[in-house]
């Protein structure tokens, strides 16, 4: 790595292209592997050969945020000021306050930004505004915060446009592809509970008529396994992808509708169970699982409010608990007595 010296010690110069390890790192993060340590050192970085007239861009020390920014500054001479957000992305960190007014002011002072550049502009990503107060930064450092676009790909256009974002740049999106990218994290995120549940129900399945017989468990368990796996995949993968296409507003209700469709498909292929009691028990369990997983997806979206989610949970969390309990009780009756 090369450095620029003569300012405040050595400032590392970073490239604007991705190496194989950057790409592998990004894929791993999307699958929740090593997600908790994907960070870079906070501080000042250089792109190209910046000088006193170059722009200063503020970023988080989550490596994925930093990588998006540096990639989109290719061909420019720029400074990047990385705040210490504990390895968390800009928006979430701004919500927690780590990407915030105090941290920004402290980094501006620590890295002597007023000596590094001759102007008084500092470009902060728009989503950072949740934690940063532009007028406070102005009064304490004299720097004018210019809120840049949500997507790093719009940065060059934003600068050319005299530091103004277009209405489109300011609007957060949640496209098919963006939702699809979240599915692996959902899939891996709840996996330990799913495996625990499968193991527990498998052991219970071996107790047909109160006699432990592992063979009867193996012979029978494919039915519950297909039902529970379908519910799990529906909640973690299908739900994020289909989110805007499912009618009704409450996520839990959307999940319930999705679960009903899944149950009907299983019923059609003769995989929903053998007796009425068993079929209804899976229907209840699956409805609760998909509805709950769907409700939890509120946190991954870009448009749910705290007031809204609280309202949703008041109605739907008890519903999910009741459905799940009824389903489990019926299933146990089926296993032990039918």
């Amino acid at each position: 790595m090369s450095y620029i010296s003569g300012y405040i010690g050595n400032i590392p110069v970073v490239t604007t292209n991705y190496t194989i390890s950057d790409i592998i790192g990004a894929i791993k993060v999307r699958w929740s592997i090593n997600r908790n340590s994907y960070s870079i050192k906070p501080g000042l970085y250089a792109i190209g050969n910046p000088d006193k007239s170059s722009e200063i861009y503020v970023s988080a020390n989550y490596k994925l945020s930093f990588d998006h920014l540096r990639k989109n500054l290719n061909g420019t001479n720029s400074w990047i000021l990385v705040l210490d957000t504990k390895g968390i992305n800009v928006w979430c960190a701004a919500g927690k306050g780590t990407f915030g007014t105090d941290e920004l002011i402290s980094k501006i002072n620590e890295f002597n930004i007023s000596e590094i550049v001759g102007h008084k502009r500092i470009i902060v990503p728009q989503l950072g505004a949740v934690g940063v107060s532009a007028h406070e930064v102005k009064s304490k450092t004299n720097f004018n915060v210019k809120y840049g676009p949500i997507k790093a790909t719009d940065i060059k256009e934003f600068v050319e446009n005299n530091y103004k974002t277009s209405a489109k740049m300011r609007l957060v999106t949640f496209t098919f592809y963006e939702r699809l990218k979240l599915a692996p994290v959902e899939l891996v995120g709840h996996l330990k509970y799913f495996i625990f549940f499968v193991a527990l129900t498998f052991i219970l399945s071996c107790f047909k008529n109160f006699i432990f017989d592992i063979n009867s468990g193996f012979n029978y368990y494919y039915i519950p396994l297909i039902n529970f796996s379908s519910a799990y995949l529906a909640g973690t993968v299908l739900f994020p992808v289909l989110l805007p296409f499912i009618p009704v507003k409450y996520f839990s209700f959307k999940g319930l509708l999705l679960s009903i469709v899944i149950s009907l498909i299983l019923l059609k292929f003769g995989l929903a169970g053998k007796s009425i009691l068993e079929i209804i028990s899976y229907f209840f369990i699956n409805s609760a699982v998909v509805s709950f997983t769907a409700m939890n997806f509120t946190g991954a979206t870009v448009y749910t409010s705290l007031s809204g989610v609280k309202k949703e949970m008041k109605i739907w969390l008890p519903t999910q608990i009741i459905l799940f309990s009824l389903g489990i009780i019926q299933w146990l009756i089926f296993i032990f007595f039918e």
Binding site: V29, R35, N36, S37, Y38, S39, Y62, L64, K86, G87, I88, N89, W91, C92, A94, G95, K96, T101, Q126, L127, A129, V130, G131, V132, S133, A134, H135, Y147, I150, T165, A167, R170, L171, V172, F174, V185, G189, P244, K249, Y250, F251, M295, N296, T298, G299, A300, T301, V302, Y303, T304, S305, L306, S307, G308, V309, K310, K311, E312, M313, L317
Partner: protein, 95 residues
Amino acid sequence: MKLIYLNNVTTLKLNSELCTGCSMCLIVCPHNVFSLINKKSVIENKDSCMECGACQRNCPENAISVTTGVGCAAGIINGILNGSNTPVCNCGSGC
């Protein structure tokens, strides 16, 4: 596709008497909630508000108030388990 969650739930309020029309709220809002009419900000798309609080924090006149927090069911459950009335994030890094 426009994303709207529940209607009539947001705690967002704007005191237009204090507003000077600086349009910071229009600049920071990720959901295009505000618009400028006769040099004053107005809440135009109220149900699009996700209570992120960027407008409140960047209003130099303190004309905006909103109860902020993350709209995350897992965070709310985690908060309840920790005896807190506000969401507590538990998703590890990244968010």
